[in-house]
Symmetry: C2
Subunit: 434 residues, 2 copies
């Protein structure tokens, strides 16, 4: 067996055996297979695809490239969620405390994410002192004590994914379904919650632009989950416009707190209840969707869900004071409204444009080494379907300077499209795939 034969086989569209895939991942990790051979193989995988069987072997080999954490024996009811990423997606901040309040456990490895705004970890780091760099033993200890951990990836966890992802990023092979699926699932396999809900975003601001693409990815991930003995479901939700109203790290934390207090934006709150009730169902902790929702809504109302956010923040060294007083979160020096230049109904609000504006304001990172400004971002006031009067505020820009505001306003205006007659907003949820 050698790397060249394995590349040639995939190049010719032939399936790779488990042994060949293991050989390749071992060679990548051991340094025997140089980056340029891996890069050629990645492009061959992108263009020739992989069967579910191959994707499973790849996921397995990647998961075992580093250490694994035995979550299940500590927390049998541990659940996980994974979003394919979008604009204003602060779902974990609400769903994790919520399902823990319902008796489940959350053992989650989160990303920082390149892109529009920071990842879940960046958002949580809006709480002063919050650490997402727990050691493996601290991770397991917190899980056992508090039933909730949201931590960063450590270098010894699925190191093959780190290597492959860096190369995919540099070789235009990020968008391969089996590579996306194995990257996600190898981390789930290494950390090992039994139940996973995938939040697959669809639309302008998402990686998957159409429902068909999202269904395809969902099916691959669900097949993969089943073959790896996980219980999983995929929620396909809209990302044509941003989720909720806040886009930006601390701004999203505030919106998550509001939602946990029962008065978040309706679309975001509904989405969180959908994802969380799927977790309850899969974990066998609710008889049906309706019962799950009712129970979760009660936990929001009672404050029990919010209390678990406080547990999480404190358990990882953060100061929970901003939960009671969100003004303690990082604040941008310049806050200005963008008023509507016209009246009418919003017919489109391009999530991608809003996301890029937040990125330009400093909310996200272009390079891994960039730091994130937690305070900046955009808060929307009008979304698709809303009627607007000329001069009414469309959104509020939180920025570092007047210049930044000016630039953001010019871009944000391009995100909006208008209609004279009322417009139906896009559906929030396309479907749940099981």
């Amino acid at each position: 067996m050698n790397a060249l034969e394995i590349i040639a086989k995939k190049r010719d569209g032939l399936p790779l055996s488990r042994e060949e895939i293991e050989f390749f991942i071992d060679g990548l990790m051991g340094g025997d297979i140089p980056d340029y051979q891996v890069a050629a193989w990645l492009m061959a995988v992108y263009l020739r695809d992989m069967s579910n069987e191959e994707t499973k072997h790849l996921t397995d080999a990647m998961a075992h490239s580093g250490r694994t954490l035995d979550v299940e024996s500590i927390a049998p009811l541990a659940v996980d969620k994974h979003s394919t990423g979008g604009v204003g997606d602060k779902t974990t901040l609400v769903v994790a405390p919520l399902v823990v309040a319902a008796g489940l456990a959350v053992a989650k490895i989160s990303g920082r994410g390149l892109g529009f705004t920071g990842g879940t970890l960046d958002k949580l780091e809006s709480f002063p002192g919050f650490s997402s760099q727990l050691s493996a033993s601290a991770f397991l200890e917190n899980l056992s004590k508090y039933r909730i951990v949201v931590n960063g990836q450590t270098p010894d966890l699925v190191p093959a994914d780190g290597k492959l992802y860096a190369l995919r990023n540099a070789t235009a092979t990020v968008g391969s379904y089996p590579l996306i699926a194995s990257s996600i699932m190898s981390k789930k396999l290494a950390v090992g919650a039994k139940v996973i809900v995938f939040d697959v975003k669809v639309g302008k601001g998402a990686f998957m632009k159409t429902e068909d693409e999202a269904v395809k990815l969902a099916r691959i991930m669900l097949d993969l989950a089943a073959s790896l003995d996980k219980r999983a479901a995929a929620v396909l939700s809209d990302m044509n416009q941003p989720l909720g109203l806040a886009v930006g790290n601390a701004l999203e934390v505030k919106e998550a707190i509001d939602t946990l207090m029962g008065h978040g934006p309706a679309d975001f709150a509904t989405h969180c209840l959908t994802v969380a009730s799927q977790m309850l169902l899969l974990a066998g902790q609710a008889p049906d969707q309706e019962a799950a929702r009712d129970r979760l809504a009660g936990l929001l109302k009672s404050g029990e869900a919010l209390a678990q956010l406080e547990v999480l923040v404190k358990a990882q060294g953060g100061d929970p004071a901003p939960i009671a007083n969100p003004r303690l979160l990082p604040q941008a020096p310049v806050v200005q409204d963008l008023n509507s230049p016209q009246g009418g109904y919003v017919s489109q609000l391009d999530a991608m444009v809003v996301g890029l504006t937040a990125l330009d304001l400093g909310a996200g990172r272009v390079r891994k080494s960039d730091s994130v400004d937690h305070a900046v971002g955009v808060v929307l006031h009008k979304k698709v379907g809303d009627g607007v009067l000329e001069g009414e505020p469309l959104c509020t820009v939180h920025a570092r300077s007047d210049e930044d505001v000016q630039r953001a306003r010019a871009t944000l205006l391009k995100a909006y499209e208008w209609a004279d007659l009322p417009v139906q907003p896009p559906p929030l949820l396309y479907q749940v795939v099981r």
Copy 2:
């Protein structure tokens, strides 16, 4: 413009512009585009192909990655040939002196070749002292004085090809038509003979296994040649069994000398006349095929062609004594016949198996840094269509040791297949594509 966008465009099957291809080759040469990005791009080119227009731009960009030699102003009748490679292919050793005797000039950059036996340069180095490392100025000086030069590639000539070829070799992308064609033609463009004959080999021992594949490659190269203002033709010839009888460097030199003296093996002599007469025709030095052949046959008979081999060897510092006395060529210490284990008609003689045997004896190189044993190889006595009695010699092995002979005999037996009734040998020439 950036490398990632160019990779993504090719990945999606979109044509690259001249500027994008130049940017990529410049980036490769300047070190701005790392090997792994080039590797991913090569695989995308392999699987998505390139239009003739793209292949032309690639060829141009590669040719201008280093210095170019203005051959045409020194030798307006300069011609070149290029073989796609095969077993027992010593055609240049005969054709170059032959067409120079006919009044043309040959300015040829040859390879050493990885594979079964050495390349043309290795064969010529069977003459003690022969140098294929002439400087660019010595190359042009010899061309002007003797009208014949066969030299190695210098690092400043088409350096992009050297880099790309090494990566293709390591990434299973050698077999891409546009990459093959641009690799060949960039060298022809940099050195600049106006007339080129491609010798495209077809069959078991060749890169192209079928006539269809060979026609496809020939058409790409001819289109490319036309767009680069070259006159070209492609001879599609058989490589199911070895060409001629000798396989091995000095053994092939001896066969070339025999052929230049008018008593070489019929198949090889015929092939040389075909290639050489195409050169004469393209250079406008013969009215038709028949006239070209007659004239060339006369130059073999008169010894004028052989005299030009002596000119070549002397001009590049070699001792021409072996031309008159081939026993002065390197001789293997062990020479043994392989006798036929059965009687019948030879129905197959697998060129690949014979080539691999020669390689194993030491005639070729596996790695670029390997050295070649000029003395070893195989001389065939029976080829396809020949009737053989049990115990009659099938071939003679020239080896470094008895052990090597034993191993070679075992392998060579597998090269032969047998029939009870007479068998038609494969055609020597499939077609000439213009």
